[in-house]
């Protein structure tokens, strides 16, 4: 089985566009009629649903951002009676107030379908054993992949995150073939297996579907090696339903956006102007089918690029590159934009493990960047100069990547807290002073 829904996934681009246009017209009416907050935004711009006749008119619609969702918390974006909703999911609230997303049964069905497409693209069939160790509960990761795995008809292990000992036991005893979790947890499981004396070929895994946090190509290769699998990226956010908005195929070269349900746009984050395919900018999504929580032109703050180049896998849906990181994750240090993923790339290139903590502070009105990295046993030497030399070399490599100098601190193995969900890698102490 190559596709979960071949007809849709390989539909001709013009046909997709026609389908999007038809759905967009209907969706804008639905939102205008049922979401007073968005109606007011449209009124303010002098736009009515009649002005939206197809995808070509999308740019006329106002944007939504996380600030709007905070403003309308908890029910302000709801477009159906609460009684028609059957579920909520929620963001972790790490960047401020939580966002609560609502789902009708149809919303859940379509979301699960999107996740099923991702699992099939990673080689999943009903014969597979899918170990879901994304967190269950409010987080969309567990619910999304769990539902998707059901739709594929695979045997689903609803592990949730954490309890690595138990994860390994189930993985081995039940011969799990597909692992779904955050990339940082996948790396941790790989490390834990190695510690217990397992070799990559000892497990039955063939693929992993990893998402919910930015990760680098280097980290992908590391995970693939340590688990003996092919690692696939999956993308989504609670505001648009959850994982499955876009997913990687066997080409591992960008994620296909499920364009029958979502329209992606890339905009200039400063001006809001729509940028042509191939240009880097902020990713914006319009949900075409969501009934309960239908966001139009939602600004994700993820920085990435779209490509319409033909994909050898046969899927015709547009591909998005791995986001460089959410603009939430982006730090401005001494006036330079810094993404943790850039630092991670250097660490892996220099032979370190992706276990690190970044501390940003302000001392005497100047930003400081301290990076704590675990020393690997084979790197340890008995002289102080040997270790400080390694710190200096790593700091130099990071400076070449970022343009600013960090202070690197090598620390003992296992002393940087491991994450079972989304990794918390950045501590920005400057905020405490503001």
């Amino acid at each position: 089985m190559r596709y979960f829904q071949q007809e849709i996934e390989t539909m001709a681009p013009e046909a997709i566009r026609a389908l999007q246009s038809e759905k967009l017209v209907r969706q804008v009416k639905h939102v205008y009629e049922h979401v007073p907050y968005y109606r007011a935004l449209m009124d303010e711009k002098g736009i009515t649903p009649d002005d939206i006749r197809g995808v070509e008119d999308l740019h006329k619609l106002p944007f939504l951002s996380k600030a709007d969702l905070r403003e309308t918390y908890p029910y302000g974006m709801l477009a159906v009676p609460l009684a028609d909703c059957v579920r909520i999911q929620s963001t972790s609230g790490t960047t401020g107030k939580r966002v609560i997303a609502y789902y009708t049964q149809k919303d859940l069905d379509l979301w699960e379908e999107c996740c099923a497409r991702a699992i099939v693209a990673a080689g999943g069939t009903r014969e597979d054993v899918v170990q879901v160790c994304y967190g269950y509960g409010l987080f969309t990761g567990g619910a999304g992949l769990h539902g998707g795995s059901h739709r594929v008809g695979a045997l689903t292990l609803p592990m949730s995150s954490g309890n690595t000992e138990r994860q390994i036991q189930f993985m081995m005893d039940l011969k799990a073939t597909i692992l779904c979790c955050t990339p940082s947890y996948a790396a941790y499981i790989g490390e834990a297996l190695k510690e217990r004396g397992y070799k990559p070929e000892d497990n039955h895994l063939k693929a992993g579907i990893f998402g919910a946090e930015p990760w680098t190509e280097e980290m992908r290769r590391d995970i693939e090696k340590s688990l003996g699998i092919k690692a696939y990226d999956i993308y989504g956010l609670t505001e648009t339903s959850g994982p499955g908005v876009a997913f990687e195929c066997s080409e591992q070269n960008g994620m296909h956006v499920n364009e029958d349900h979502f329209i992606p746009e890339i905009i200039d984050p400063d001006t809001g102007e729509v940028l042509p395919d191939g240009e880097k900018g902020e990713l914006v999504f319009t949900s075409l089918d969501k009934e309960a929580f239908p966001l139009l032109r939602y600004r994700t703050r993820d920085i990435c690029v779209l490509t319409r180049e033909k994909c050898p896998c046969g899927r015709t849906h547009v591909r998005m590159a791995k986001p460089m990181g959410r603009s939430d994750d982006m730090m401005i240090i001494r006036g330079v934009n810094v993404f943790p993923s850039q630092i991670e790339t250097v660490l892996l290139n220099e032979g370190y493990a992706p276990n690190y903590r970044i501390e940003v502070d302000r001392v005497n009105n100047s930003d400081t960047l301290d990076i704590y990295v675990e020393l690997l046993p084979e790197q340890f030497t008995d002289t102080v100069s040997g270790i400080t030399k390694m710190e200096r070399r790593l700091a130099e490599a990071i400076k070449i990547m970022l343009g600013i100098s960090p202070v690197v601190h090598l620390v003992a193995p296992k002393t940087i807290a491991r994450s079972e969900g989304k990794a918390v890698r950045v501590v920005d102490k400057r905020k405490l002073h503001d």
């Binding site: 020393l375 046993p377 340890f380 030497t381 008995d382 002289t383 102080v384 100069s385 270790i387 400080t388 601190h409 090598l410 620390v411 003992a412 193995p413 296992k414 002393t415």
Partner: protein, 133 residues
Amino acid sequence: MKQLTVFVENRRGGLAVLTRLLADARVDMKALSIADTRDFGILRLIVSDAEKASDTLQKAGFLVQITEVVGVTLPDRPGALAQALDILDQDGVNLEYLYAFLSSEPGTARVVLRVADNAEAERILTQNGFSIL
């Protein structure tokens, strides 16, 4: 001879934990030296059983390495160490670090030397009448 090298972070109680582990494993410490920086220290130990000490500490999560070093016995009198170091210096042996430890024989002192080429240093010292441990 074998030296146990341990990476210790500068945090409260770190050394207490380490020495307690060695005590419980009945490992006797003969010499000890610490090189420290703001963030971390490198603890160097000469112990009764380096392998056992290394296993014990590794199991407890410490970063440990067994390093080959040169142990030399010197007469316990002024100038003895200076003489040994002069000889090494003249032969171009570069010293990374050194520390002293107790000698059970009266009238002698013991020093641990860490150089790039142990065998070369041992040969030079032996040729000049020093006894190697």
